[in-house]
Amino acid sequence: MSELLCTPTPITTKEGILNLLKDKGGAQYYSQMKEMKVDQAALARDLEQTCKSRTRTWLDICAHCAMCADSCFFYRTNNNDPTQIPSYKIQATLGELLRRKGKVDAAFMIKCMDAAWGKCTCCNRCAVYCPHGIDTGVMFSYLRGILFKHGFIPWEMKIGSGMHRVYGAQMDVSEEDWLETCEWMVEEQQEEWPDLEIPVEKEHADVMYVLNAREVKHYPEDIALAAILFHVTDTNWTVPREGWENTSLTMFAGDWEGCAQNVKRIYAAVERIKPKVVVGTECGHAHRATVVEGPYWAGRESGDPPVRFMHYVEWVAEMLRTGKIKIDPAKKIKVPCTLQDSCNYVRNHGLGMATREIMSYIAEDFREMSPKSDHNFCCGGGGGLNGIGIYRQERNVALTNKLEQIRATGAEMVITPCHNCWDAIRDMMEVYEEHNIKWSFLKPLLVDMLIIPPHIRHIAPE
């Protein structure tokens, strides 16, 4: 008896997640998707209600001039395949969907899915190169929302959205798991940092720290490193009991309802704890989902979050600028190194200055990629693409663009303050057997190279 795994209904139960996880690689899920009926009336209504003048004008006045072609790393890495031009990709999917007023079949919806997740990471670089200011990334993000509503989304995205809805985190980390991990990390560090703590739900703390569930589940030492950096800077900080996770696979999945739930959980923690500022971990999409798009999902008309939110790189830059973190000159990065600009907080939130300020403190031989900052290319695995099995081959091809960019700098180290970029860069080095280039988040580097202030008790390990 095969269960119905692929439906338009979002996953809201643990059983639902488990059933999907049992279906290895989503084989059954995708075969059911091919048979799924498209609710054409509902689709037509959704398009009518949510696709307004901005998007329709974009599709309407696109001059098909192909200026966007070269801005897209998919086009570049697929030997200038004309079907990879952003304009073509969106016209052949969303454009066609609108022209047909939703009268499409499952095969067409699957074609849309393949383009929305397998041929676009919503990096928004094409928007910077279109004379008419057409943002194809924004349109693909919109298309993801439509596809989510009608059930045509990659298996991993369905699971991710379910995780957020069930656990309030992108992975099955319960509140208990989270708090235990914090305690465990403090214990682990006790010998080296006797006064280290991770204060939970401390009202009126200056800083409330939010992070990525992956750090809790797979890289708990990252939490310890964050704690050490708050500790040595004498930061009055805390983590919330609930609303600690700021990533949003729901955003990648096009699950706008789930996005709202996530961000409201975090804003509720702000309400409870009343911090002066919220600092989010080294993650790109988490920042975008919580700080850039989040306020709108939470219904905030001004578009601003309820309190100042800082990306980790902004906080680090401030700590270096104010001398709270002092770098040991002898321990600066000596090898040539470069910096990966995360689309989600650089092009889409203007923080390229902060990362460069950090580089000026920690690197002796910093080399810019070309193009850089607001114009930089996506790592090749953004927008959820890293995690989607059926598009692994597409992703691996796309990675070569960034690999060439990195190699051209001659760098032996890539600073990657973003989980998705970090994964993509790790994978490209492995897939293309590049063994001479390392990559790293900021936290481990900073902890290694900082000068520990005299008043902080520290017992160097043997």
């Binding site: 309407d60 001059a63 004309p82 073509y88 200011g133």
Partner: protein, 226 residues
């Protein structure tokens, strides 16, 4: 017949053009939705207005943006076409005389030689853009009827106007065709991709506001570096 196409039909074309374009503007602005687009249009005007202006004006300058600089050939053709397509219809001496007589608007006029040069360059740019559409694999993938149609709509007034300019014995026939093709352009502009005559400005302003209000305007320190 001649008096109809140069009189009432001309006025009708101008009215359709103006009302149609205004309608496109109104419908565009009314269709913006801060929730759906997730842009607080009414807030942060201190940065949204400079953002919108930078987004428009940087793209009006040849080579003013990274996009223009990375595609020098296409950029040159676009600008050659648009210099003529904007300046000649508005400021050619013959046009300003007619405009003053029929509409009462008095505009300065271009020197004749400059108008000739601009028109020839525009026409050449149209032909080269058409050649680019046929030759480039990327363009061939994108081409649609609508793209060819607006190239044709733009080609006709320039071609007939220049034929008339040659002042052959067929002068008056070319002039009739020129007036008709110009009117066809005016009448169809609001309903075709030529609506970018106004929508370019709105679309650019919108994306400029998007980046200024939401996507980094507060942290980037200035407008988006297009």
């Amino acid at each position: 017949m001649l008096d109809f196409i140069t009189g009432p039909l001309f006025v009708i074309s101008l009215v359709i053009f103006t009302v149609g374009m205004l309608a496109r503007v109104v419908l565009y602005v009314r269709g913006l939705d801060w929730r759906l687009e997730r842009i607080a249009y009414r807030y942060h005007t201190d940065r949204s207005i400079p953002g919108a202006l930078a987004s428009i004006f940087k793209w009006l300058i040849p080579g003013g943006t990274d996009g223009w600089r990375t595609q020098p050939v296409a950029t040159t053709l676009f600008f050659l076409l648009h210099f003529g397509a904007v300046l000649v219809p508005l400021f050619l001496l013959g046009h300003t005389v007619l405009l003053e007589r029929y509409v009462g608007i008095s505009l300065p006029s271009l020197p004749g030689t400059l108008a000739d040069i601009l028109s020839v360059l525009s026409l050449a740019a149209i032909l080269l853009l058409a050649a680019r559409r046929m030759a480039s694999p990327a363009l061939r993938q994108l081409n649609s009827r609508a793209d060819w149609f607006i190239l044709l709509l733009t080609f006709l007034p320039f071609a007939t106007g220049l034929m008339a300019r040659l002042d052959t014995s067929a002068y008056q026939s070319w002039m009739v065709l020129h007036v008709l093709s110009g009117e066809l352009f005016l009448i169809l502009a609001p309903f075709t991709k030529l609506s970018h005559i106004v929508l370019f400005f709105l679309s650019r302003a919108q994306i400029g506001m998007d980046f200024a209000i939401k996507r980094g305007g507060a942290t980037r320190g200035g407008a988006f570096p297009w």
